[in-house]
Amino acid sequence: MKNRLKVLRAERDWTQADLAAALDVSRQTVNAIETGKFDPSLPLAFKVARLFNLPIESIFTDEDQL
């Protein structure tokens, strides 16, 4: 699964630690999601969508559909 987390974070001038604090996860988790090494659970993905006020499908994309 691909995501635009890094881009969205950069637009807001947030560090990984800032985003981790907002999502209540570790910085390592944010890094792993951004680099595509770890796919977040559905609740965490929804939390990300709520944080950025964006629909979930505009942040996360299924690679098989590309």
């Binding site: 637009e11 947030w14 570790s26 988790t29 770890f38 944080l51």
Partner: protein, 144 residues
């Protein structure tokens, strides 16, 4: 709302201290106390420090209670981790258990065949903790 508007509407989050760090320190303290009580009990039983059987049993009960404390603290620690950290812990536990189980069976066969003369529970503990530690290191390296 487009991305730029959304970006402007969200305040920068305040940084918080991760609760898992505090819990990690707490579990280490519990493990150290439990291990110290285990070593003390082992030495006491070996040298007959307690004198009476009741005192020995009381010492064992204290060790068990400290062990329960370790388990409860670890469960609380697991609950407060995020999903990736929990995944790492579960993978490490699976590896520790697998290595411990396979190693224990192998050790039992060595004992039965006379290759090892004296049973030692320390070997099983070492295998379990070694497997667990290896799992933690591999997990951290994989997702860093």
């Amino acid at each position: 709302m487009n991305d730029t508007q959304a970006a402007n509407s969200i305040a920068k989050p305040k940084r918080q201290l991760a609760g898992s760090k505090k819990n990690h320190a707490l579990i280490m303290v519990w493990i150290l106390i439990w291990m110290a009580s285990f070593v003390a009990m082992d030495k006491a039983a070996e040298n007959n420090w307690f004198g009476s059987q009741n005192m020995t049993l009381a010492g064992i009960v204290i060790n068990i209670l400290l062990g329960v404390g370790v388990v409860v603290t670890y469960m609380k620690f697991l609950e407060e981790l995020d999903e990736l950290q929990r995944k790492n812990q579960l993978n490490a536990l699976a590896l520790g258990m697998g290595v411990g189980l396979v190693g224990s069976v192998c050790y039992a066969l060595l004992l039965a065949s006379g290759q090892v003369s004296r049973p030692d529970i320390g070997v099983v503990i070492m295998l379990l903790s070694g497997g667990y530690m290896a799992g933690i290191i591999v997990g951290r390296a994989r997702y860093s």
